[in-house]
Symmetry: C2
Subunit: 417 residues, 2 copies
């Protein structure tokens, strides 16, 4: 089954909105074994839409359209779909009831523009949207399928999971692709390629797909094969070999994030954690809290952005700050050790660095970051040298801090691997 995702909206083309929907849909469809061949973004404009629908229905089996179903005056998708399929808009009572129920639950009156949502293409199957007023529109023609959904991510996700994936999974016989993803943190793409060159050569010789998926501070490796007992065993065994080769850097499989991995280990070990952050400004803490249930192991943090807060709240000694500077092994270790006491947790992660764009020096250039982890009777610290981009430096500091904590929790010696 081949799929094209068409996202409609000037706001996507002029960059006011990032197309996160496409990534989410792609990941879910890949899991199903569907092949997403194209993702096309077009303007909120009649002729572009007609052309895109026609091209897509020629080259793929399923066309998933997002966007352009909102209640405001600039959304025209529904009308163009009627023109393309030579049908008309009719009133749908179930959709109206849904709109009324949603507004009642928010305690807000139903406006005229919202009532318009109940007008739907006559030939379509209407997909109930529990999270919004615009329903999904499902149309089959000549053995192919076109689905139109709202562009609001959580509404699209609901419609995909509840209606679209079950329907297209049933209609098309989905031959699954077998794949495994290995997630790594702390090594660049080329260093990994060099360290596993022999394994990679073997993988390719076996006809197994292999790809590097780099993102700032992390690289994922993807192995893929057909569904076939022998091939699947091979994939699994190569995954094992790579993990063994890079123990301190491979942190997990699949879609699991580093903060989820760390959270799971803390839960299993019954340990608690806290952070004391300077240049990351709460980004580590926030990534921990983004995981539901983190209150079981996360107590809190002190964001000691200024030196005054470092000394007044975290008791970093003034002489340490004066002698070594805020971005130093000595300060980051005092932050971790004192933070662990003040916040009364088993582990405390600390960060102090120069995120940039200013504040660097010859000795400590922008991108210099010290990270510490304190545990009972022990403190480890490590210096990192990132780049010049503030956002990337913060992101890489968070990932490096979480991985350092992971290594400490699992007693992996990161210096030796």
């Amino acid at each position: 089954m081949k799929v094209e995702v068409i996202a409609i909206g000037d706001e996507l083309l002029i960059g006011q909105t990032i197309n996160t929907n496409a990534a989410w849909m792609g990941a879910r469809l890949a899991d199903l074994g569907a092949s997403v061949e194209y993702c096309t973004v077009i303007r909120d404009e009649r002729q572009s839409m007609l052309n895109a629908f026609e091209l897509a229905l020629k080259r793929v089996d399923v066309v998933l359209v997002t966007g352009g179903l909102g209640p405001t005056k600039d959304d025209i998708t529904k009308k163009v779909i009627c023109e393309f399929f030579d049908t008309r808009l009719v009133h749908d009572e179930a959709t109206l009831k849904n709109v009324e129920a949603l507004f009642a639950s928010f305690g807000r009156p139903v406006l005229d523009v919202n009532v318009q949502q109940a007008m739907v293409p006559e030939i379509a199957t209407i997909l109930h949207n529990a999270h919004g007023t615009a329903p999904g529109i499902y149309i089959e023609r000549d053995g192919k399928v076109l689905v139109s959904m709202p562009g609001v991510p959580y509404e699209m996700k609901y419609l995909m999971q509840e209606h679209v994936i079950p329907r297209i999974g049933e209609k098309f016989e989905l031959k699954s692709l077998y794949y495994k993803t290995i997630q790594t943190q702390g090594l660049g793409e080329t260093v990994i390629a060099q360290r596993i060159e022999d394994i990679e050569d073997e993988i390719r010789a076996q006809g197994i797909g292999f790809a590097y998926l780099p993102s700032p501070g992390a690289v994922r490796l993807r192995l893929s094969s057909e569904v076939n007992d022998e091939k699947q065993k091979l994939v699994d065994s190569y995954v094992g070999s790579i993990k063994e080769r890079l123990p301190a850097y491979v942190f997990g499989d699949g879609h699991t994030s580093l903060q989820e991995v760390v959270g799971k280990i803390l839960l299993e070990q019954g340990k608690t954690m806290s952070t004391v952050e300077s240049c990351t400004g709460g980004a580590i803490s926030q990534s921990i809290v983004s995981v539901p249930g983190s209150s079981s192991y996360f107590e809190g943090s002190v964001i000691s952005y200024s030196n005054r807060i470092k000394s007044e709240l975290v008791n970093v000694r003034q002489e340490t700050l004066d002698q070594f500077g805020a971005v130093s092994k000595e300060v980051v270790e005092e932050m971790a050790v004192n933070g662990r006491t003040i916040l009364a947790t088993d582990f405390c992660v600390s960060v102090s660095g120069i995120a940039g764009p200013d504040g660097g020096s010859e000795e400590k250039p922008v991108g210099t970051v010290w990270i510490g982890v304190a545990s009972e009777g022990r403190v480890l610290s490590k210096k990192f040298r990132f780049g010049n981009n503030r956002e990337r430096n913060i992101r890489r500091s968070v990932l490096s801090a979480l991985n350092l904590l992971r290594c400490e929790l699992l007693e992996i010696n990161i210096e030796k691997s």
Copy 2:
């Protein structure tokens, strides 16, 4: 000048990577007055690439290709470009020197795979990449342009700003579009539409483009016209009318973020701030710190995720916690007032809420969030009722907290507007 952006990479189609490049390129090209008509994502596969290049060079003037130039074995873009333009790869000494200099600056040895970067299509103009080893490739044919750049965002951005935008701006006479964006926080799309209905009708009657660009917790409004004195004056005056109609909700223009707006006001007023956060886990603090130079007004935070930290570090009285619960007006006000004292700042923002998915009750359902702002001799608090999605609830809490702080700083009464 019509543009198509082609992003190459299985990782984009299967959702391992979000296509943030397209949004960035779209925004910069729109500012130039270029019209981005299509954005297409295709597989890392020879025939798809050849087809996409051909279709794009038929329907637009400039084709911007990203991705597939990395040093690892799965990247084939450069070879396919040679096939498409009937040319061959040749050695480029300047690129090799750049690769060597970059590796020297990181103190790392140049590997064989990196040397491959110096092989470039013979007919191309080579664009120097100061931030990475893969150069940009610029090819003109029949009055049209195709540019290939790495998919790594900061390398692509460098190449676009330094080389691509100046070149295509010169080659094509760019007729600018005039547009203004108004950024709002705190009201939904339909409520805004209702509150400015008369203004919107007038705008459309004048032939001025008008669009709603919603994202979680914020809605941007975009007005656009041709470049024309009379029309531009009209656009500006309608922008003014909308701001006047929604004083507590319109926070800025253009691409400026709410944290930048708040930072600018704090700098102008010479005031400092801090946060005490529970359910947002440092997300407010982190958004403040994401702005370069925030150390001038931001001191630090306490992330009091557990009740123990609320009472031990922030001195919230145990009786207040027991009587009203952590998510209450009383607790959030103590957090703000005490946080202001402990962190010694002019303003302190506090948040306590139920982000979900669990932890809700009949009386305080998931999505209930209290936000407080303490200033000298004053504390304001406001209850919000968001939805069921943890990530969205955190995002909306951050934006609502920043906007509440903005209103306090500017003495705007949010209750009355």
